[in-house]
Each structure stands twice: as structure tokens, then as C-alpha cells.
């Protein structure tokens, strides 16, 4: 290829780039408000900022045991219902699941002293009691996502009689590994100083750490690639939805983060059987119900080994793992999971109802 050809190609590329940018800017101007989590739901229980929602059924045949989804506190649950055609919640509803979801809300300074005990033994327990009371049942199916999976495992160990089946998705359980940068950094950090200085740790600070996991991809390449796709309004809308979710990082209640970082990340107490909340020791052996552990093969936030180790510590013999060749977020929005994940979860549950 001679220089003339190269120049011509470069000019063509630049022209395309400029056209895409122009069209993209027009799309942006007319894109309006970015909306997430549009699946219809009803507020059924609340305690201050923390809320319990029930999603409207989308199937005639409903599973007799409701499913409670517990998401992480470091980001918003809206990831599970990003857009109609990329919604794990919709997919579960289509499979006949009766879906409830905990929204932890946005913590503020008044949540400075909120503890894991308040979240797990109080609010989660209240939600499950509410569901059981409404349905006249003894136990629910629990599906915990990421940090919510850790919470769900802890809850299941402390209240096994209230959990019919436990599903953990990309949940950090064993923190001995250094396969994730977060685990390496978390171990060196002076957590007490961080919490004492901030009280409520800004979500942006947490978000910066996540960005540093792929510094060039997430701060440069992603936006450059966006120009190529922003000419298409649908793709642009999807991009904006994802961006909205990424930068929607709630502040973290200090005491929850302190225990999470010190007892779990730094001292790995959960799998050692030394973890305590509300004066109660958490023994994973007490998890006697069926367990399905779902993890992502290319997860850089929660390494697969950290998730699937759960199965080595639970007391039940009915345990199974399920993995997808995706990343942490890809588990919920990737095309690879959209069509099969919810059906496989439902099938597993239906065999155990």
C-alpha cells in the first residue's frame, strides 16, 4: 500500500468518523432522558430508604415459591433490568418466577452507623417474613447478586429454615485469592482510616477503583469506540443506559464497608467460620438447602474461584455450579446469557419446588 492509498483510507476513515459523530450528536440531542429499570413493579414493603418491590407477573403459570433477589450495595439493581431486551428480571418473569427485589437505596450520613446485622438480620429478614406472610409459606427462593450473594449466603447460614433454595451469582465468598486487583488493593488499604475519615464513603471513590481495573479501556477506548456506534440511536441508547448505571454509584455506609473490607477481604473470615454479625457466628455448613452457584469465567471484579468456593463450604449435598464465558457485568447483559440464564435458573428451581 502506498502513501496515497494510506492517506485516502485515512481520509475515508476520518470522514466516516466525522459522519458518525455528527449523526451521533444528533441522536444524543434527541435521545431525551435515559431510563432504566422499566419493568413494572410495586412497592410492597419499606423501611426508610430500603425498599422491597414485587414485579408484575408476565406468565400465566407462576412458581408457587416466590424468588427474592438481593443485589449489591455498591451499585444499583437497575443492571438487572437495564432495558427491555436485556433484562434478567423480565426473563425470570417470563419463566413464571414470582420476583421480589430488595432496593438498598442511596445511603447518606444518617446511615453512618448502619451495620451488616441491620441489613441482613433485620431488613432482609423483615422482607422474607413479609413475603412468607403474604404467600402463607415457610421459605422463599433466594437469589443473591455480587455482594448481595454474600449477604444471601450469610442469611441462609443464619436462617436456613427460611430459604427454600439458594442461588448466588458472581458472589464473592472466598477472599484468599489475588486474582482480582480489588482483592489485592483491599488487603493493603487502611480501612479504619478510610471509614473514620469519611463516615459514608463516596460512591465515586469506589467507582474510581472499578475504573482502574481496566484504566485505558474504561476511560479512553470505550468512548472512542462509542463514536463508531453512536450513529445508531438504539446502540447509543444502550450505551447511555450502561453509562448511567456505571456512574450511578451510591455512597457506602461506613460500618458495613468496614466489616465487609476487614472481615471479608482482609481476614477472609467467612470461609474460616469466624465471621460474626449481631453476635452470631456464621457457619456456612448450616446452608442445608439446595445451592446453585453461578459465576462468570472472565470476571475481573469477582474471580470465579472466589465464587465457586462456596460449594466447598456449604452443608448441603444438593449443590451445583453454572458458569458462562462472560465478564462480571456481561452475566446480566450479554447476548450469551439473555436467552439461557433465566431458563436454566427456573429449570433448576422447578426441580426443587
Amino acid at each position: 500500500m502506498n502513501y496515497t492509498q494510506q492517506f485516502q483510507e485515512s481520509m475515508d476513515e476520518f470522514k466516516t468518523f466525522a459522519e458518525n459523530l455528527k449523526k451521533g450528536v444528533e441522536n444524543l440531542a434527541s435521545s431525551g432522558e435515559v431510563k432504566l429499570a422499566q419493568t413494572e413493579k410495586e412497592l410492597v414493603y419499606e423501611d426508610g430508604k430500603r425498599k422491597l418491590y414485587r414485579y408484575q407477573a408476565r406468565s400465566k403459570k407462576i412458581c408457587p415459591v416466590p424468588m427474592l433477589i438481593v443485589y449489591a450495595m455498591v451499585n444499583r439493581y437497575t443492571m438487572l433490568d437495564l432495558q427491555p431486551d436485556r433484562s434478567m428480571i423480565r426473563n425470570l418473569l417470563d419463566q413464571g418466577q414470582d420476583v421480589y427485589l430488595i432496593d438498598w437505596g442511596y445511603a447518606d450520613r444518617m446511615d453512618r452507623h448502619l451495620t451488616m446485622d441491620d441489613l441482613i438480620n433485620a431488613f432482609m429478614d423483615d422482607c422474607i417474613n413479609h413475603i412468607c406472610e403474604q404467600h402463607q409459606i415457610e421459605s422463599v427462593n433466594l437469589l443473591g447478586v455480587c455482594q448481595g450473594g454474600t449477604f444471601s449466603a450469610i442469611y441462609s447460614a443464619l436462617h436456613p429454615e427460611k430459604v427454600k433454595n439458594l442461588i448466588t451469582m458472581v458472589a464473592p465468598i472466598d477472599f484468599a485469592t489475588n486474582d482480582s486487583l480489588l482483592y489485592v488493593w483491599g488487603k493493603a488499604m487502611d480501612v479504619d482510616l478510610l471509614i473514620d475519615a469519611y463516615g459514608i464513603v463516596p460512591g465515586d471513590l469506589m467507582n474510581q477503583s472499578f475504573q482502574m481495573l481496566q484504566p485505558f479501556t474504561l476511560t479512553f477506548q470505550k468512548y472512542l469506540n462509542m463514536v463508531d456506534t453512536m450513529a445508531d440511536s438504539e446502540t447509543l441508547a444502550a450505551f447511555l443506559r450502561m453509562e448511567s448505571w456505571i456512574f450511578d454509584s451510591p455512597d457506602q455506609p461506613g460500618e458495613v464497608l468496614r466489616q465487609n473490607a476487614k472481615d471479608l477481604f482482609q481476614e477472609n473470615k467467612l470461609v474460616k467460620g469466624e465471621f460474626e454479625i449481631g453476635g452470631q457466628r456464621v457457619d456456612l455448613q448450616q446452608i442445608s438447602m439446595p445451592v446453585l452457584c453461578i459465576y462468570a469465567d472472565y470476571d475481573t471484579l469477582v474471580p470465579p474461584v472466589s465464587s465457586k468456593k462456596l460449594l466447598e463450604y456449604v452443608g448441603t449435598k444438593d449443590k451445583q455450579e453454572l458458569s458462562y464465558p462472560v465478564g462480571h457485568v456481561g452475566m446480566f447483559v450479554s447476548g450469551k446469557t439473555q436467552s439461557t440464564l433465566a431458563p436454566r435458573i427456573s429449570e433448576w428451581l422447578n426441580q426443587r419446588i
Binding site: M110, L114, P215, F247
Partner: protein, 531 residues
């Protein structure tokens, strides 16, 4: 650099001399004050403290005007909400102005050596940093003047994706690349390495000097506050130092990743696979840079450097928080610690409330159970009452039956008793009869004995008689010798002797039988030794 140290040594020497002079002046000034000596105190104020005192005087003057204005504002804002006594105590402006003056007066005697601009020594604690940023240290200026987050937001803010804002317009494409290229060029600039070394060196020297200065005796009514400010400066230095270390590590990594990118670029060109498209070029750039950075980010060194950097920043933040709280402590503005305390109490109250509700639910459940149990008890009570009545009736019947049975038993007993008495009588009679029979038997025995004796006697007599008769018969026989034997035999048979002999034999036989019978009868009787 030697000049630098020489200058520091000279500065220290001067500083020490000044301190000695000042101490003497201060002592004299103090004595004058203690004696209540009249006169112009300002003329006697020690040199180094002169500025401080001046600042205090100025502060007071400023306070008069500024304070009045603030007082008016506060009255307008809080006058109807707070007691007058409290309003009079508002003096945060005092601290604010003092801080301003205090910083303004914190000059380095003789100035601090400026390694970047020889001859232009720094006299203000913050000026060296400004110079450093302004001049030949692009990497540092990148971080100080170029806020990456702001730039990203500026460039892409138009997309409305970060905060929902609309596009500001402008040449976005060129802006994107000039900012990013500039940033990364600066990052990869080998000159910055020297810059960081120099920065670190300067920080350390400045810190040493400042520590000495800050450790000088503090005076004045705001001594504690001054010390707190000093601590802020000290912590700031530590923060800058850790920031420089972090920056140096990033800069080294950036150089390494830049080299790797260039090497890959050359390699692909040599293989006749150069990135033709701009996007290919960027993809390669991202990929190669990120690989190097992630390797460093995963190292223990980076984790510790980052943690030290974060901790230094957090310590500084905490100290600033503390000072700010001290400054606004007298105002009606809620302090963070007040909010935290209130939040803690509210949280605990919520927990208590939840616990109470839980207990209430348990008690309510227990109450329901108790009510059910009471109702069940009542029903059981009624049942038991009926059962008791029935049982009583049965008991009465049973008693009656028992009485009858007892009476019957008594009657039977009496009958048995009578029968027994009768049987006893019969037995006694039988015994008497038996005794009598025994006695009779004895009597009969005796009689039989007597009879036997008689019989024996008779037998003996009969025998004697027979013998006599035989003798006589013999005699007769002899006499009748002649008589035929048959007649004789017959005659013998018919003789009394033969008859007697026959009788004797019969009697003896009978006696023998009687004796045997008697013996037998004795055994059956009372068993007395009759024999």
C-alpha cells in the same frame, strides 16, 4: 545542590540566632507586662512575634467591622431562633482571619532555596509548589492543572451521559486528542522523571525546615488552633510526598508501557501489519498500555504505595475536618460529629424499636396462645366438672356398694365366726370324745388286761386241770387199758381235759388279738405312752 544545603545551614544558623534573641526579648517584654509598666508595648514586642502580635491587632480591628457585619447577618438569619447570649458568642470570623494572618506571617527567614529558579528564593510556604507546577514539570502540572475527570466530563459531557447535561459544542474530535495526547505525552516524557526526583527532594527539604519552624514555641491565645494548623501543613507535606511517590511509580509505568507500545508498533510494521486505521492504532495503544499497567497495578508495591497515598490524604482530610469543626463549633451549624452522634442514636432507637416490635409480636403470639389455652382450659374445666359429678356419683354408688359389701362381709364374718365357734366346740367335743374314748379304751384295755390276766389264770388253771385230768385220764387209761383204742380216743375227746385244752387255746388266741387291737387303738388316740 551543595549551594542549596549551604543555604539551608546558613538559614538554620540565622534562625537559631533569631530564636535566642527573641527569647531574650520575650523575657524582657514579659517582665514589663508583669510589672504593669505603662508605655507603648509595640516598641517592646520581640521581633519574630511582632508580626504575630500585629496580626492579632489587625485581626481585632478587622473583627470590629467584619464582626459587626457578620453579627447583623446572623441576627437576620438566626436572630429569632437563637438566644442572644449564644449569638454574642459567634466569633468564627476571628479564627478565619487569624488563620489568614497566621499563614501570611509564616515566612521563611531568608527564603527557601528554589532549585528550579536559582536566585528566586521562596518566602511563602506555598509558593514553591506553585512554581513547581508552573514550570518544567509537565507531569505534575498534568495532574494539578488537568483534572482528568473534568476533562472527560467536558469532552463527553455533551453526550449527556455523565450528568444528563447537553452538548456544549466545539471541536470535540480535536479536543479529545489534544487533551489525551497531551496528557499521555507528558506522562511518557522522560524529563518528568527528573521532575519527580527533584520534587521529592524539595518536599523532604522543605518538610525538614518547616518541621523546625513549626516546632518553634507557639504563643498567643490561639495556640492550640495554631498547632492544629501546623499539623495540617505537616500532613499536607506527607500527602504531597506520597503523591509524588505514587506519581513516580505511575510515570515509570507509563514510560514502560509507552516503550512496549512502540516496540509492538515497530514489530507489526516489520511484519507488514501496521495499524492502518486509526481505530486499530488506538486499540493497539490501549491493549499494550493496559497490559503493562495492570501488571504494575497487581503488584504489592503498587498496592502499598496506593494505600500509603490514600492514608496520607485521609489523615489530612481528618485534620482539616477537625479544624473546620473547631471553627464552626460556636455557630448553630450542625457539626459532622453532631450529625453522626444523632444518626447513631436514631439508628439505635430504630434497632430498639424493631426489637420491641419483635418482642411485642412474640408477646402477642404468646397472648393468643394463652387465650386459646384459657379457652381450652375452660372447656376442659367444664368437662372435668361433668366428669367430677359423674365420678362423685360413681363414688357414692361405690361407697354404698362397699358399705353393703362390708355389711355382707361382716355378716359373713360373723357366720364364719359362728361356724368357727361351732367348729371349735365340735372340735372340743371331738377332743373330749376322743379323750373319753381314749379313757374308755384305757379302761377297756385295763379291763381286757384284767380279763387277760383272768384268762391267763384260767388258762393256767385249765392247764393245770387238764394236766390233772390227763394225769387222771392216764391213770384211767392205764386203768382202762383194755378198752379199745377207738373208744379210748373218743373218750379222750369227750373228756373235760380235752375240752379245757381246746378252750385254752381259743382264749389265748382271743387275748392275743385283743392286745394287738388295743395297741392299735392306743396309737390312734392321744398318743399317750399307754404301752
Amino acid at each position: 545542590m551543595q549551594d542549596f544545603f549551604k543555604q539551608q545551614a546558613e538559614w538554620l544558623k540565622t534562625w537559631q540566632e533569631q530564636q535566642q534573641t527573641l527569647t531574650k526579648q520575650y523575657a524582657a517584654w514579659g517582665e514589663g507586662l508583669a510589672q504593669g509598666a505603662p508605655g507603648d508595648f509595640s516598641q517592646q514586642v520581640p521581633g519574630n512575634f511582632e508580626e504575630l502580635v500585629k496580626a492579632q491587632q489587625e485581626l481585632f480591628e478587622q473583627f470590629t467591622g467584619f464582626g459587626q457585619q457578620m453579627q447583623q447577618n446572623l441576627q437576620q438569619l438566626w436572630g429569632d431562633k437563637l438566644p442572644e447570649e449564644l449569638l454574642r458568642q459567634f466569633n468564627f470570623n476571628l479564627l478565619q482571619e487569624f488563620y489568614k494572618n497566621w499563614l501570611g506571617n509564616m515566612k521563611f527567614p531568608g527564603g527557601l532555596s528554589n532549585p528550579f529558579m536559582p536566585g528566586q528564593n521562596w518566602t511563602d510556604p506555598s509558593s514553591f509548589l506553585n512554581d513547581f507546577m508552573k514550570n518544567e514539570h509537565p507531569f505534575f502540572s498534568t495532574f494539578s492543572n488537568f483534572n482528568m475527570a473534568d476533562e472527560v466530563q467536558k469532552v463527553f459531557g455533551m453526550f449527556g451521559m455523565l450528568q444528563g447535561s447537553k452538548m456544549p459544542g466545539g471541536d470535540l474530535f480535536s479536543q479529545l486528542f489534544t487533551t489525551y495526547q497531551g496528557f499521555f505525552n507528558q506522562l511518557a516524557n522522560t524529563g518528568t522523571s527528573k521532575g519527580f526526583d527533584k520534587l521529592l527532594e524539595t518536599f523532604n527539604n522543605w518538610k525538614d525546615q518547616s518541621d523546625k519552624y513549626l516546632l518553634a514555641p507557639q504563643v498567643g491565645i490561639n495556640r492550640e488552633t495554631a498547632q492544629d494548623f501546623s499539623k495540617i501543613i505537616s500532613l499536607s507535606l506527607a500527602y504531597f510526598e506520597s503523591f509524588a511517590k505514587m506519581g513516580k511509580l505511575i510515570e515509570e509505568t507509563a514510560r514502560k508501557s509507552g516503550n512496549r507500545f512502540q516496540a509492538k508498533l515497530v514489530e507489526r510494521s516489520l511484519n507488514n501489519e501496521p495499524p492502518i486505521k486509526f481505530t486499530d492504532f488506538c486499540n493497539l495503544w490501549t491493549k499494550e498500555n493496559e497490559a503493562v499497567f495492570l501488571e504494575v497495578f497487581g503488584s504489592e508495591e503498587f498496592a502499598n504505595t496506593q494505600a500509603d497515598f490514600a492514608s496520607a490524604g485521609l489523615r489530612l482530610k481528618m485534620q482539616i475536618n477537625k479544624l473546620v469543626e473547631q471553627m464552626i463549633d460556636q455557630t448553630p451549624i450542625a457539626l459532622k460529629r453532631d450529625v453522626d452522634l444523632a444518626a447513631g442514636e436514631i439508628m439505635q432507637l430504630k434497632r430498639d424499636l424493631r426489637q420491641s416490635r419483635k418482642q411485642q409480636a412474640v408477646l402477642a403470639a404468646e397472648c393468643r396462645i394463652a387465650q386459646d389455652a384459657a379457652a381450652a382450659s375452660e372447656a376442659r374445666f367444664v368437662q372435668m366438672e361433668a366428669a367430677l359429678t359423674k365420678a362423685q356419683a360413681l363414688a357414692e354408688n361405690a361407697e354404698k356398694t362397699t358399705r353393703e359389701e362390708v355389711a355382707a362381709s361382716e355378716k359373713r364374718f360373723k357366720q364364719i365366726e359362728a361356724a368357727l365357734s361351732k367348729a371349735q366346740t365340735l372340735a372340743e367335743n371331738a377332743e373330749k370324745t376322743a379323750k373319753e374314748e381314749v379313757a374308755a379304751g384305757d379302761k377297756r384295755f385295763k379291763q381286757m388286761e384284767t380279763t387277760l390276766t383272768k384268762v391267763q389264770s384260767l388258762a393256767e388253771n385249765a392247764g393245770k386241770s387238764a394236766k390233772d385230768a390227763v394225769a387222771r385220764l392216764s391213770t384211767s387209761v392205764e386203768a382202762v387199758a383194755a378198752a379199745p383204742k377207738k373208744t379210748a380216743a373218743t373218750a379222750i375227746k369227750k373228756t373235760p381235759a380235752a375240752a379245757a385244752q381246746k378252750t385254752t387255746k381259743t382264749t389265748a388266741k382271743k387275748a392275743s388279738k385283743t392286745t394287738a387291737k388295743k395297741a392299735s387303738g392306743t396309737k390312734k388316740s392321744s398318743g399317750s405312752p399307754t404301752k
